[in-house]
Symmetry: C2
Subunit: 193 residues, 2 copies
Amino acid sequence: MGRWEPGTRERLHSAALRLFAENGYEQTTAADIAAAVGLTERTFFRHYPDKREVLFGSDELLSELIARGVREAPEGTSPLDLAASGVLAAAEFFDDERRSTARIRRQIIDRNPALLERERAKYAQFADAAHRALLDRGVHEPAATLAAESAMVAFRTTVSQWLREDETRSWREIAAEMLGSLRQISEVPTSAG
Amino acid sequence: MGRWEPGTRERLHSAALRLFAENGYEQTTAADIAAAVGLTERTFFRHYPDKREVLFGSDELLSELIARGVREAPEGTSPLDLAASGVLAAAEFFDDERRSTARIRRQIIDRNPALLERERAKYAQFADAAHRALLDRGVHEPAATLAAESAMVAFRTTVSQWLREDETRSWREIAAEMLGSLRQISEVPTSAG
């Protein structure tokens, strides 16, 4: 029964991150990950198509959260506010319990150019999700593209800040501040500098 | 004398684009490109470190133009206006004579995932150039990052539009419009839709 018990996917995920961090991503096989939690490679592949997806398997959910945030934003707001609503909706994903795991994941990805490339592709998918949702909300081009991509700049910057070792604020708090800064880049600073 | 005559680099560039388009990027060697203009492979490597750099060798210049545009922008403007000045300065590079060659280059890159990845890295360098110049202009974080990256969204969108087969407007005209749209994404649209 073990291989179908609830939480198998999560246990594989934890073991994979630990092994990637300790032994290196390239050096760790799907069989190693499965063995670390007393399962077979075959069982691993029931839960993940390959070891890379252990790192990126949650990104579908993130695209959905972003799109839903745009769809559920109030009417009568600007294209950027609609896109910002998508960014803020991602807070549901980036809860504080996830932060320490996310920091380990970050280090694993930073060490591997192929994983960095995979991550860039995933970010492009988030931008696409926001973009499609903006078009559905009736935003025209090029505003839909510009708002989706600009909001994704704030999204990426928020993720980087949230992962910093010295950062304790919640994802939502950082995102709100970053989106506020994004709205202000068209304003001439009043203080020196 | 042939191999040192002025324009050798340009002739190699033209021959390379033609061969990449006709025979495929992967199938074309540096020796093929050199032979097409009556030169040796050795001469090719005096002008380009590898065949990929035929496609990306002008990007240093583009980074410099963007940075200079930011540095030379008038004082008392917003972070986004400073970054926008960098985008507009790139118009010097994207002149109309370059457009047909740039369209061929576009098709070659679009067909090759490794070239697309290289292009993404180059775009990151443009953003870095704009970002550093914004910091030099006294813009604080996160405004410097957000303005540089947002301006680069307008830059990429401008390049795409400029390369469209049905587009006849100049790069500067398209860029000015795109930057105008970027400034308006925080505004609530007044007309329907």
